[in-house]
Symmetry: C2
Subunit: 204 residues, 2 copies
DNA sequence: TGAATAACTTGCACGATGTGCAAACTTGCA
DNA sequence: TGCAAGTTTGCACATCGTGCAAGTTATTCA
């Protein structure tokens, strides 16, 4: 009786979820954004339209799975950092580590696609917003009473804005698979260091 | 022949736009978010459903008019600052000045409402995102060649995140009309000063 | 001033969205 | 094996967002 962490049921759901996300990404690449419907995704994933909506609220949400994975990683990495490390150094290390995420390339593609599609962009922004809320809770616990609510919200918001800026810069330049992860990591460290030390002096 | 800057046509359109926005806000307050349709708004504004969609893409967008006004104000104030002022000081002054915007109270209400409604939140985030793009362009012109694209994107993103944090703090506390604008301005100056000098040392 | 023109509003139709509901089907467990 | 709980599916329905063409209002200019 191998104590499977994931029962057959849970595994099936995860598989279906992955299949849907993959189908959505395939369609986005082959047909173009907004050129396909929830029904098309369902068809390609071999499920009914109704089941699609049991998993996701919209086509855009199905596309955002990789982005969510990236953000979950950020949250998890931050939780790993030692409690006595200065908060900004912990953040730099945590965000730098996210570049090792599974499907980094998909994140870049999504980021580029979102730039030209308000619907997708809105969904992605919501994903970042939800992640922000989770990270704020984590930081609040970590700094228990040592910082004001205003400080924490401003800090975490800026943290994610810097990460976003880093991703944009990374995703917008043609990366001839020249160690993409390393490039992104450099951008992240650059922006977060500015955040830590102040934006007064632009480090070109 | 008084040289009217706004022709009758333009004025009518503006009036209609305002009427729709007002109708949407009224309904949101009286019925609750998500408890009314585009058709309801149109009815209350005395126009057809079709005309509503000529002005806005969705009910949420009609609600975001005050937020857009606030962000436009921020952009305009920044453009007013002298060109030789250090960029971060210019930003602090500009954002602080936005608190004099017409319908600040509506902005606060909207902000609170959005916290509990993903659709509205998504629309508001898009509005902030569009404003961010415009401000980035303005800053790029201002710093012409003196700063990297990465620096500018990270800075402006963080700027708006700090402003958002300030608004959240301001909107979430019961303000018994105790000079609301001043309270918000204080929060903005606090967060932007941290952005300028670095987040290393939490100023409680 | 009055006809021609441009801009705006409206109704209609249509494909797509997102969700409640109940009937089928699958899995877990005694 | 067979029942309880969880999942998928089809169907119906209200709503959305937009193209289109016909109607209405503002503007222009002869």
């Amino acid at each position: 009786m191998t104590p499977q962490q994931t029962s057959r049921r849970e595994q099936n759901k995860l598989d279906t979820r992955r299949a849907i996300a993959q189908a959505a990404l395939d369609l986005a690449r082959s047909e173009g954004l907004g050129a396909f419907t929830a029904e098309h995704i369902a068809e390609r994933a071999n499920i009914s339209r109704r089941t699609f909506f049991n998993y996701f609220h919209s086509a855009e949400e199905a596309l955002s799975v990789s982005t969510e994975a990236f953000l979950d990683q950020a949250e998890a990495e931050l939780a790993k950092r030692p409690a006595d490390e200065p908060i900004l150094d912990a953040m730099i290390q945590a965000l730098a580590a996210t570049t090792k995420v599974e499907n980094l390339q998909d994140c870049g593609d999504l980021f580029r696609m979102a730039a030209g599609n308000p619907d997708l962009l809105g969904t992605q922004l919501l994903a970042w917003e939800r992640a922000e809320a989770r990270i704020i809770s984590a930081v609040e616990e970590r700094l228990e009473g040592q910082a004001s609510s205003l400080y924490i919200h401003a800090l975490v918001g800026s943290l994610l804005s810097c990460a976003k800026a880093a991703m944009r810069e990374w995703a917008s330049s043609e990366n001839p698979d020249h160690d993409a992860a390393q490039t992104l990591e450099n951008h992240i460290v650059t922006t977060l260091t500015m955040l830590r030390d102040g934006f007064s002096h632009p480090t070109l």
